[in-house]
């Protein structure tokens, strides 16, 4: 067969595959929302396109529509009122199964070509998607554009490249010729068909509706599976745009668009019915431990790829760049008001304090200086709003309100008024301090801008605590500040046991909560915070099967 879209995007796919092999810096999509990259009118066009969705019914032409559902509440307080078609789950499954054989027959080349074209189209709609992400999640604009647009697209492309690499390693056919001494050889012709496992369900979260969804969507599609996207009930619009773009590319290429559909499920029971359906063979999930573990426990018919909660931690043992360290941490804790699955929650400091380039700092000084650094960082309202965004959910707002009960307050959270969005719930980060023994306070995820400076008996105890937190409660990120190579090495070895990505002595413009596609693995899949990684070969290899046939040649 001939796959013009594969040929069109082949060079980029090869670059992406090479980037995975070397893991240096590489990105396919421009991260700056500049006219140079996106065109002079892109910003205005994208905003208009976003606004055109508001107050309307989002058309998807899906099967089994039983009604519509609206109800997204913008953390910025604007009225969204987009109504989405609600499809009967059984109808979506049937449509997915009907679309699957032809999708399989496209082969890896056909599928990758179409998916890369879709990623290109999504990229061109990054402003529209950025606004949709911003207004549904409460992210500030720059993050919403970058993480919601180009960075999410990069993660999607990474999944495609990873899936491509695994599938390209399997030949379509082979001639097997076994020598028989003086007799003629035995010759068999063998064909190897790659087939998807079955229907894939991808369940999105409320904070990163594209970044955390694209890996599963594109990995499942690239390996031959039809996908049903079940977005978080408060972040449907970014998913709906994504699904509509992919459906459009499918239809243009003569493929049943029901290879991907949107499941708007106002009730959790509808999601449960979908995820446990016998025809569903994989479930990708980002969200709470509670529902994630329910899925793992109950979706026995499917492979579940789950990113759950954790208690991300940083150990501070010593530093030769005290101010830069504090600034780096202050930014990490402020970014999107700590509403990232990678934000540090426990900052572990030895009770004796630490050696720094500004002399010895006691535990109390470190704690107070960090509080001051955060306070200074969010002092300028312009900076604060550009970084904090708004509080995504009322649960997070409630946690902030209650947090003073957890431990001693070093820095209270303040409410800010965003002049552009007066109804937005904007909060500055809250910093608490406690003893390592006060496990009830800090050793459970406190999602949002709530962090703890935790006092450990000594430096060795700090590492041991970090290791235990990660082993028992999980972590997507860990950090270490130390000028001792030996101490860093001890922390490195601890992370090999607990399987968590480590950032060492971050003092510049890289932050522990950032993860770059094609280079940083997001999660390892080896501790309770996630059972999968964006994107290693395990993330794609189990999504397809090879079915062979052989015949005498």
């Amino acid at each position: 067969m001939n796959y013009p879209l594969f040929e069109k995007h082949r060079a980029r796919l090869e670059q992406a595959t090479e980037a995975l092999r070397t893991r240096g810096y590489w990105s396919a999509f421009a991260e700056m929302p500049s006219p140079k990259s996106y065109g002079e009118t892109a910003a205005a066009d994208g905003k208009r396109a976003f606004e055109a969705h508001l107050g309307k019914t989002f058309e998807l032409a899906q099967p089994g529509v039983t009604g519509t559902h609206a109800g997204e509440r913008s953390p910025y307080g604007i009225q969204l009122e987009v109504a989405y078609p609600v499809s009967d789950p059984e109808a979506l499954i049937e449509a997915a199964l009907a679309a699957m054989p032809a999708w399989n027959r496209q082969g890896a080349e056909g599928r990758c070509g179409i998916l890369m074209e879709a990623l290109d189209r999504l990229n061109r709609r990054s402003f529209e998607i950025g606004h949709a992400v911003m207004m549904t999640t409460g992210q500030a604009w720059m993050m919403a554009f970058q993480a919601g647009g180009p960075h999410a697209q990069d993660r999607g492309l990474e999944a495609v490249a990873c899936a491509w690499r695994e599938q390209a390693a399997i030949p379509g056919m082979a001639v097997w010729e076994k020598p028989q001494g003086k007799n003629p050889p035995i010759r068999m012709e063998k064909h190897f068909e790659i087939v998807g496992r079955g229907v894939a369900v991808v369940i999105g979260c409320g904070t990163f509706p594209t970044w955390n969804t694209y890996p599963g969507v594109f990995a499942a599609l690239a390996t031959g599976n039809p996908v049903i996207v079940k977005p978080h009930s408060n972040a449907i619009l970014p998913a709906a745009i994504t699904v509509s773009v992919i459906r459009e590319v499918l239809a243009e290429n003569g493929i049943d668009p029901n290879v991907i559909t949107l499941a708007v499920a106002p009730q959790r029971t509808a999601t449960q019915i979908l995820a446990t359906h016998a025809s569903v063979k994989s479930v990708d999930f980002t969200g709470s431990n509670q529902f994630g573990n329910w899925l793992i426990e109950n979706c026995r018919q499917a492979q579940v790829y789950a990113e759950l909660a954790g208690v991300n931690n940083v150990v501070i043992e010593s530093t030769d760049a005290y101010r830069a360290m504090l600034k780096n941490l202050a930014f990490t804790l402020s970014l999107y008001s700590g509403q990232m699955c990678t934000t540090t929650q426990a900052i572990i400091v030895p009770s004796q304090g630490i050696a720094t380039d500004e002399g010895h700092k006691s535990f109390d000084e470190v704690a107070a200086d960090l509080a001051a650094a955060i306070d200074a960082f969010v002092a300028d309202p312009k900076v604060a709003h550009a970084v904090l965004g708004a509080i995504q959910s009322q649960d997070t707002a409630r946690r902030i309100d209650e947090a003073h009960q957890y431990a001693e307050v070093l820095l209270p959270s303040r409410k800010l008024v965003n002049p552009e969005f007066p109804a937005a719930d904007v909060r500055t980060p809250m910093l608490l301090q406690c003893d390592a023994r006060d496990e009830a306070a800090y050793m459970t995820e406190r999602f949002g801008p709530i962090s703890f400076v935790v006092k450990a008996g000594n430096a060795q105890a700090a590492i041991e605590l970090a290791e235990r937190i990660t082993r028992d409660h999980g972590a997507l990120t860990a950090g270490i500040y130390s000028t001792s190579a030996e101490f860093v090495d001890a922390m490195v070895q601890a992370t090999w046991r607990t399987k968590v990505a480590l950032s060492i002595n971050l003092t510049g413009a890289i932050f522990v909560n950032q993860s770059a596609a094609f280079s940083d693995y997001h999660g390892t899949g080896g501790n309770p915070s996630a059972n999968a990684s964006y994107a290693d070969s395990a993330f794609v290899a189990n999504r397809f099967r090879v079915v062979q046939r052989r015949v005498h040649a």
Copy 2:
């Protein structure tokens, strides 16, 4: 680090990796037990080495030994009386965990070098292992040598190559340099450490103690996991020899030999305690549905790779080589008395009969001719003994005795006396016939030399039945005989849905129950007979994690 064993075996590893990429014929180990390949004295030396184990205690120098256990019953009726050390499961786990960090630090190169050296040593002991396999499983000599020795070693090497390919795709380090316009780039140095998931338990079966065990053992070891081998209680010797050889190579290279240990567990509860242990992160299993499903249900802390039972099936619609087809099937049904997980059980024939190169054959003619072909094949006692071997378990013997109750007997099973081993329980294949509706008869695995000619309404119904059997009960192999390209294509498409390997019109020296390493995938992992395949990338990719660290460069 420097890995001399990796350098020693690098060329072969590259050949093996290339073989996986092309899937043509390739084998690393000579399959004929000839002096030319193995040396003039190899046969006699190997037999002597096997005999030297009998009546003795097998020394392994393992930790936590609480006593010894003997009790293997040879299907050939000879006295084995080998006593094996029984180690406390907790002691084996602790020893495995203690050995794991240094095994991880060997990296993929270090591990693959050592494992390939071990495979070489195992190959040199193929005669000894062949006798051990023959005498514990009841396989005839040629199969015991080939499947137990070189073919098992090839499957082990295949797993190593597969694991190597996945790990070699991950760079040890990278410099990540992100351009910043006119400012200097941000530079990060990143390191990527491959770490095993944890302790691996590999549970062997009674019929193929090496062939079905080596893939899991070598895949787990190659990806950084210590392995505890739990052999079937009646096929311990081949596993014990294997473990001792690998331990020897580890120790010679300064590595803690407890990277691999043998768990002789006379009680199933001991195996259950081992497999459900919190430190055990993978379980490889070959055996019954009952215990396999128990493992899948209960080993929630581990990834379970299970090969279970199925109902392998062949559809006969038409043929242009009637006699050759019958001969091919007769051999398939006779080989190791049908005690292969790949042996055909249901031979589905349309009620109207089939077109052949000898004219139309009615259903009854096909059934009778197949019975006659089997009878003729086992008529010569020399051929019969060389192919049938002996009945491995008393359960199988009981099933043969009871099989006449299941359906109408086309060919009864006969007991043969093997003059060399008068106490061996030797049985010829039993062929029954029934209607497709008699599902209770043929639609459950009847392990052993018991097969059914099943009468389907018509050719289309035959395919539909084959599809349903595989979908609901699983199959590792399927076959089709047809001269119609259209009909073959319909069967091919059915196998894509049920995910089973298909053999088309086998009439020569290749049989549906044979699977060659580096070319044939054994199982697809996509139907109830197995959730994994020897060996695709899914078989190795989830056995390790990548833990990264990054620091400003």
